[in-house]
């Protein structure tokens, strides 16, 4: 069988994939190219041709746009670090408990909540801590509790912590009890075990989780958009504003440049993740 296959031409073996490649080229390739081209195109005055240039990108890296970009990065970083640490503690607490029902339940709940971004998440929190939410009115807390930086972080953690639990659980399970026994038998303290064995083995998965959580919070739009009145400037909200025509004349393509900035940041962060993943899979077989 291999002989026949090996002689098959490049084209013949790839034919079944042609429709897929075509659709991806149209539905993903064209928007990507248009985005990149548009980001570097300066719209001329009406009647004049557009020209190539860096004005949009430069503009997107100045105020007021730079502020939204930095604020998004800051929020995502806080969510990523807090979410990763909390998620790890929760996963460890659950995995070391003797109840396998608890483990099953937490892992399956995490599977749902990790995908529970978007609109419903915003409304659950608005009903709880929004300006006319049950807790807000019941306890007589002031309004605007949810609509600031930390409020948004609290909401984002609702899907970030479960995601971290899912990411770190296999790594925690791969930490063999024998390693710990060996360390303790050789006179190590529990702290030494974690510092010299546990954390180094977990490090790639931990950092990988931080990256995933960062990406999720950075790209989130629906939740923030549904929480109307949030006073946190976010790059996703800014792009949506610019896209729906809520911009000054001549600034139309800034949305494209801001999108390009976002993609570059997302790619840079991902570039950290891929080698890490390879490293962690070496130990956790």
């Amino acid at each position: 069988m291999t002989e026949v296959r090996a002689r098959r031409t490049w084209g013949k073996g790839w034919a079944p994939a042609a429709p897929l490649l075509l659709v991806v080229a149209v539905a993903f390739g064209i928007p990507a190219v248009m985005l990149a081209v548009g980001a570097f195109t300066e719209k001329g005055a009406p009647g004049e041709p557009s020209s190539f240039g860096f004005a949009n990108v430069t503009r997107s890296l100045r105020e007021p746009y730079l502020g939204t970009l930095l604020s998004s990065v800051e929020l995502s970083a806080v969510v990523a670090v807090v979410g990763a640490l909390t998620g790890t503690f929760v996963a460890h607490a659950v995995l070391t408990s003797k109840s396998s029902a608890l483990r099953e339940a937490v892992l399956s709940v995490s599977g749902v909540l990790a995908n529970f971004g978007g609109v419903p998440l915003a409304f659950i929190w608005i009903a709880t801590l929004g300006n006319s939410g049950v807790v807000t009115t019941g306890l007589g807390l002031g309004s605007g509790l949810l609509y600031n930086f930390w409020g948004l972080a609290l909401v984002y953690l609702y899907f970030s912590i479960p995601l971290m639990v899912l990411v770190i659980a296999p790594a925690l399970e791969g930490l063999r009890p024998q390693w710990r026994e060996a360390a303790l038998n050789n006179g190590a303290t529990t702290w030494q075990f974690w510092r010299l064995v546990g954390i180094p083995v977990l490090a790639p998965a931990l950092l990988g989780g931080v990256v995933l959580l960062f990406g999720g919070a950075f790209a989130a739009y629906a939740t923030a958009a549904a929480m109307v009145g949030a006073s946190v400037p976010l790059v996703t909200l800014q792009i949506a504003d610019a896209l729906t025509g809520n911009v000054l004349v001549g600034f139309e393509n800034v949305a494209l440049a801001l999108s390009l900035d976002m993609i570059v940041i997302a790619l840079l962060v991902m570039a950290v993740y891929l080698p890490l993943q390879r490293r962690s899979s070496r130990w956790l077989r």
């Binding site: 069988m1 073996g13 749902v112 009903a127 953690l157 710990r180 958009a225 999108s259």
Partner: protein, 279 residues
């Protein structure tokens, strides 16, 4: 997915005396995750003016726009599922049947949609539609471009969702294909005189039943929950409608949020149940 391999040995035991720490962590997590859900549920059935009432749930079906937006989302999901499976299954079989060079290409195109933020994707799409309309104004393709954006069934959303669903469909089907010997099955069927459609329908697909169901469920959950692209292209899909209705009926939008969470739960539970049965 939450496919965690059961290990015979328990993971590293809790720190001596860490029983307390563990209980505190679990308690805080339980409060953080359960309380908002319970409060939101109370919010939908109780308010000071009317007391206890299931009215918010009763209003759903008669709420203006519910039926049309929900049907639109279901139709988009159905079209996306069919198209994504029709596109990716042949490509994934090709990788195993003599085009191994295709694998890195597939891996790349099924990873990119996860890296690119949806908001930037929709910016690209709307720019393409706008520039396309200018460029194609004088050609017959203009009509195609317009029908892509038909409000009753915006096929442009299906195209976008196909791209977004590729990573999930790919991973689900990859796990399914790993479990069967594709080459032997196909060769046996072909040697016995089966045509290619017969091979697909009667040999490959029955063996991939649970992987196909998994891919379909994940795509369904994705399309039913997608807000960013639909909202910014201006279509009233189900999540977009929930936000619209929240302006006039807060209780209803929270009730729908809880229901969509339960639906997602049900889908994923069915999925993991099916996965477990297979293994």
């Amino acid at each position: 997915m939450a496919a965690v391999t059961p290990v015979a040995t328990a993971p590293v035991a809790a720190v001596a005396g860490g029983g307390w720490g563990r209980r505190v962590v679990l308690l805080i997590a339980a409060v953080y995750f359960l309380v908002p859900m319970l409060i939101a549920a109370t919010f939908t059935v109780y308010n000071e003016a009317q007391g206890f009432s299931l009215g918010a749930y009763g209003r759903i079906l008669s709420a203006p726009g519910f039926v049309s937006s929900f049907l639109l989302s279901l139709a988009l999901a159905a079209a996306t599922i069919v198209i994504v499976l029709l596109l990716i299954l042949p490509a994934m079989l090709a990788v195993r049947l003599g085009a191994p060079g295709l694998r890195p290409v597939l891996e790349t195109i099924t990873t990119l949609p996860l890296v690119v933020p949806p908001i930037t994707y929709v910016v690209g799409i709307s720019t393409s539609l706008r520039e396309g309309a200018d460029a194609l104004a004088a050609t017959p393709f203009w009509q195609t471009l317009i029908s892509l954006q038909d409000e009753n069934f915006p096929f442009v959303l299906v195209l976008a969702y196909v791209v977004l669903a590729l990573p999930f469909a790919y991973r689900s089907l990859d796990a399914g294909l790993r479990a069967i010997d594709v080459v032997t099955l196909v060769e046996a069927a072909r040697n016995l005189g089966a045509s290619w459609p017969q091979v697909m329908l009667r040999v490959i697909m029955p063996n991939l039943r649970s992987a196909l169901a998994g891919a379909a469920f994940l795509t369904l959950a994705l399309v039913l929950g997608e807000y960013t692209i639909a909202a910014l292209l201006g279509y009233q899909t189900f999540p977009v409608w929930i936000v619209t209705i929240s302006g006039s009926d807060g209780q209803l939008s929270v009730a729908l949020s809880i229901l969509s969470l339960l639906l997602a739960w049900l889908l994923l539970l069915t999925l993991s149940r099916a996965g477990r049965k297979k293994s």
